[in-house]
């Protein structure tokens, strides 16, 4: 079990393959396991793939304190230091993309290229726990909420109907080690408080912005489709690619198009 002892917690991580480092950063309250469904196999062929469990998730420490995306960013930076990983390609999905932005801003030497997948810079109108999420978690129960919400946000109805086995394969991994609800909520608060809006102009590395064209679910105040546009307008050296027919979780059930776009971006920039 590769565990890195940080100042206040142990951080679980895995490394696969050799080559230019690629750091994968998961969505809210999700551990690193999800990248092992498709991305580790694809990118470890010619990269050093680094994934980890955020504090509060998976096998990492779970202190009952306030979390922030800055804290997740510093944990990631400490892991990269430990692995002597420099000039990495950083792929952040959803909340992971917010952390990736901070990594590029606060630790510029560590980041060669950014891939911001289905993410944004801020939730301008909703700080703190979104009422809708709390309400649904209580009405449906925590596990059912995460499961149903993952399906609804992740996949179009058509895709879920045609490919139930691919959706289930992802959910099996996503739900396998679900963090206690306290830490899901701590992650939500961290995500809602994140705001890099005024700093996007300072992100200097080549940035690929990916989003599903149908990623329009609104849990608090802005959807990923709209917030990806804000990223594309704010980051100077950015390219926006909209994935047709996709919602939020193409990485885990329909990765081919995303992988192709990422490969082309890595080769070209």
């Amino acid at each position: 079990m590769p565990l890195l002892q940080l100042k206040d917690i142990e951080l679980y991580y895995e490394v696969h393959g050799r080559g230019q480092p690629i750091v994968f950063l998961s969505e809210t309250a999700s551990d690193g396991e999800v990248w092992k469904i498709h991305q580790v196999e694809e990118f470890s062929r010619d990269h050093q793939v680094i994934l980890h469990d955020y504090r509060g998730t998976g096998r990492s420490g779970k202190p009952s304190i306030d979390y922030s995306t800055k804290m997740f960013c510093d944990d990631t930076a400490a892991l990269m230091d430990h692995l002597s990983a420099k000039k990495a390609i950083v792929i952040g999905h959803s909340m992971g993309g917010r952390i990736a932005q901070l990594l590029a801003l606060e630790h510029p030497n560590k980041v060669d290229k950014l891939i911001l997948a289905s993410t944004g810079a801020a939730f301008p109108a909703t700080k703190g726990l979104p009422l809708k999420i709390c309400q649904e978690m209580i009405e449906w129960g925590y596990e059912k909420y995460v499961r149903d919400h993952s399906i609804l946000v992740g996949f179009t109805d058509e895709f879920a109907k045609k490919n139930p086995e691919r959706v289930e394969k992802y959910l099996q991994v996503r739900m396998a080690n679900l963090c206690p609800v306290e830490f899901y909520l701590r992650h939500l608060i961290a995500r809602q408080s994140h705001d890099t809006t005024g700093r996007l102009k300072d992100i200097r590395v080549s940035t690929l912005i990916l989003v599903g064209e149908d990623d329009r679910n609104v849990t608090s105040d802005i959807n990923h489709r709209s917030s990806s546009e804000i990223l594309a307008q704010g980051i100077p050296n950015a390219k926006l690619v909209v994935l047709p027919g996709e919602r939020h979780s193409y990485f885990f059930a329909n990765p081919a198009a995303a992988h192709k776009t990422i490969r082309e971006f890595i080769a070209s920039s």
Partner: protein
Amino acid sequence: MPYVKTKDGVDIYYEAFGEGTPLLFLSETACDGAVWKIYQIPEFGRDHRVIIFDYRGTGLSGKPSAKYSTEMFANDAAAVLDHLGLEDAVVCGHSMGGRVAQLLALDHPRKVSKLILASSGAAHPGETGIPLRIAKEMVEMGYEKYVREHTIVVGWTETYAQQHMDLIEKYLKVRMANLCPVEFYFRHVLARQEHDTSGRLKDIKVPTLIFVGDDDHFVVSDLSHRAGTDILAKGIPNSKLVVLPGERHSYFYTEPEKAHGIMRDFLKSKMMQGNRNVS
């Protein structure tokens, strides 16, 4: 069924009992007005015009899925008093109801002759939004179980709960009977957490009785009612603080005589008949 329609179109359910000086009761967070019927209506309905109502989002009142605020609740209370043609009421607010009562005195001064702020406060300075602890416990325990158990732990000391579960159950039957949907519980919590009259306490000019249980130390977000009450007593010029020994948050509903005696003393006290907020 007696309703008042507010300016923004919400039906507010109210009830009025007895004749005499108007006495308005304001409930705690996400609690309708029915809880006052257990002991306060029989006691004060004898010689007061006692008014209770269901906050928007609770009981028989309208429940718009919109943002709520304590200002809004105060305006709803004022609309009920207007509808009944009442001014110069004694306003007794419990917990969040005490926050609403402060705003009623500040923003609708003609309506208020005296304030009774029971187990309340002026602000939750450290935490806005839905407190993590509430969300976590509601998810883990379920909504109804949370309200029930939270009410008990906040309401009474362990010793009291062990000895008087029958009295507590009598209250819980009323409290839980018409529990609002969880959405509106949260909308009330959000309204409460955002309330802040800290800078305006000095402008509350009416005689104010503040009371609190000496064991009301439970912290849901950032400040206990015991501590919140001291801030009120320091900030409100014409106020008197009474600490109820051995009590937590819900003495009104199981040990009402203690609170009623203090309220009656305050109501007849000549010393405290000071200025209303308007001259």
